[in-house]
Symmetry: C2
Subunit: 252 residues, 2 copies
C-alpha cells in the first residue's frame, strides 16, 4: 500500500467547490470516481483545502492510498486522460504513509484578482472580480501591511465556521496593479473560512475610499466579523499552491 | 439619422464567430437583436472583423445608423444592460455618416497566446492554446522578424478565401515569454483569412524545432499555403483592437 500525493488544478466555475456533497458535482467527487475507475479500487482522496463553490486552484493537494502498480509519477498522465478538461493533475508522487495534507504544517498561497475598468471584460468574467470604481492601489497596499504577521483574524472569518483558534500568520501579502488588473498574492500558514475573500472585500473598500487604511488595524483588534468589509466573490480567488516543508526533505 | 460606432468585446467560446448565419448563434446576430429591442428600430450592424468561431475580442468595431435620442455615449451602458455577460460594449460614439469599418484604412492588433507547460492549466483552456513541447522563444523571435514589413502573405492565407490581393503590411510582431505563457501581438493594416492563426502555427513549429527560423522567409517567397505550418486553434486568438487614423482627427 502506497500513499500518493496529487497536485490538483481546476477551474471552479462549474463545481460546487471541493468537498463531496449530495446533489451537486464537486471536484473531490470527480477525483474519487475517476481514480476508482482507473485503479480498480475504491479510492477516497483526502484534500488539503476545501475550496468554495466557484473558487479556482492551480495547486490544491490531495492524497490517497493504493495498491496499484502504476508508477506514482505516471498516475498524473493516466488520470488526466480520464478527467474533464476543467480538472488537471499537475503532479503525482509517493509520500510517507502518515502524511496528512490538513494535519501537516504548510504554507498556502492564494491569489485574488480584481478587474478595475469602466466596463467588464468578457474573457475575464469568470477569473476576476469586476470593480468599476477607480481604486487607489497605494492605499490598499498600506492597508494590506497591517495584515502581515501573526494576528487573531477573528474579524476576517465568516460566521458559521467551527474553528476555535483564530490566530494565523500571514508571511506576505503583495498587492499590485498591472494594467486594468489589481491583484494580490497572500501566503500564510493557514486561512480561516472565507478569510482571503473577506481580506479582498476589505481591501477593495479601502481602494475605493470607503475607509482609510488604518481602519484595517482597528478591524483586527475588534475581533468581530461585523467590523470588516464584505466577502468578495469566489470567481476572483485562486488557490495557487501549498508547500509542505516536511516533504522538501529527502524521503529516507 | 446618426451613425454610431461601437467597440465590442466578447468571449468567443460560445459563439459561431461574428457573422450572422442560419442555425448558429453569432455575435452580430445578438447585437442586432438587442440593439433593435433597445432602440425600437430594425438595426443591422456593419462589423469590422468577421472573427471565426471561438476567437475572442477586446475591441472589434461595429457601426449602425439610428434615429434614437439616446446620447451616443450612453448607448454602451443601455446596451450592456441587455447583452449576455460574454458580450460587452466598451465604447459608443457618433462617427461621420460615411464611415465604414471595413472600407476605411486602419491598423488592427491581434494577440495569440500559447500555454507552454507540462500539463494544461484549466482556467486558461479557453483563452490560450496549449503546447507541451518546450519552445525556444529566441528562435520564434527570429522567425517573426521575417514577417514584419510589406509582403505577399499568400502562403499565410487559408484556401477558400476569395481575396485576390494578398499583399499586407505588418507594422510589428512582438513575441515574448512571461512565465508559462508565450504570446505575441501583431499589428498590421489588414490580415488575410486565418493569417494570424497560420502565423501562430508556423511560429510554434519553429519554437519546437520542426524547422529553422529561415524557413519562414522561404515560405513567404513560395506564395503557396501548403508550405506553411498548421493553423493554430481559435481559442488562443484575440482581436485586441482597431485604430482608424481618420477618426483620430476632430470631427468638423
Amino acid at each position: 500500500m502506497k500513499r500518493i500525493k496529487l497536485v490538483v488544478s481546476y477551474d471552479g466555475t462549474n463545481y460546487y467547490g471541493w468537498q463531496k456533497q449530495p446533489n451537486a458535482v464537486t471536484v473531490e467527487e470527480v477525483l474519487n470516481r475517476e481514480l476508482s475507475r482507473l485503479l480498480g479500487e475504491a479510492v477516497e482522496v483526502i484534500g488539503a483545502s476545501r475550496t468554495d463553490s466557484g473558487v479556482h486552484a492551480l495547486g490544491n493537494v490531495a492524497v490517497f492510498d493504493t495498491d496499484t502498480r502504476i508508477p506514482p509519477e505516471k498516475i498524473s498522465y493516466a488520470l488526466n486522460a480520464r478527467l474533464p478538461k476543467d480538472i488537471v493533475i499537475q503532479d503525482s508522487k509517493e509520500v510517507p504513509p502518515d502524511f496528512h495534507p490538513r494535519r501537516t504544517d504548510c504554507a498556502k498561497t492564494y491569489e485574488y484578482r480584481i478587474l478595475n475598468t469602466r466596463f467588464p471584460v468578457p474573457t475575464m468574467r469568470l477569473y476576476a472580480h469586476y470593480v468599476y470604481k477607480p481604486m487607489d492601489v497605494e492605499q490598499m497596499q498600506r492597508a494590506a501591511a497591517f495584515l502581515v504577521g501573526e494576528h487573531d483574524f477573528a474579524s476576517f472569518c465568516s460566521s458559521g465556521s467551527q474553528v476555535k483558534e483564530t490566530v494565523r500568520t500571514i508571511y506576505r501579502l503583495d498587492l499590485k496593479r498591472e494594467g486594468d488588473l489589481v491583484f494580490f498574492q497572500v501566503e500564510g500558514n493557514g486561512f480561516l473560512y472565507n478569510m482571503v475573500r473577506i481580506i479582498a472585500g476589505t481591501l477593495i473598500e479601502v481602494g475605493i475610499g470607503s475607509y482609510p487604511p488604518e481602519k484595517v488595524k482597528e478591524m483586527l483588534e475588534a475581533k468581530n466579523r461585523i467590523t470588516c468589509g464584505p466577502k468578495a466573490p469566489a470567481c476572483g480567488l485562486t488557490l495557487v499552491g501549498i508547500r509542505y516543508p516536511v516533504l522538501e526533505q529527502p524521503m529516507s
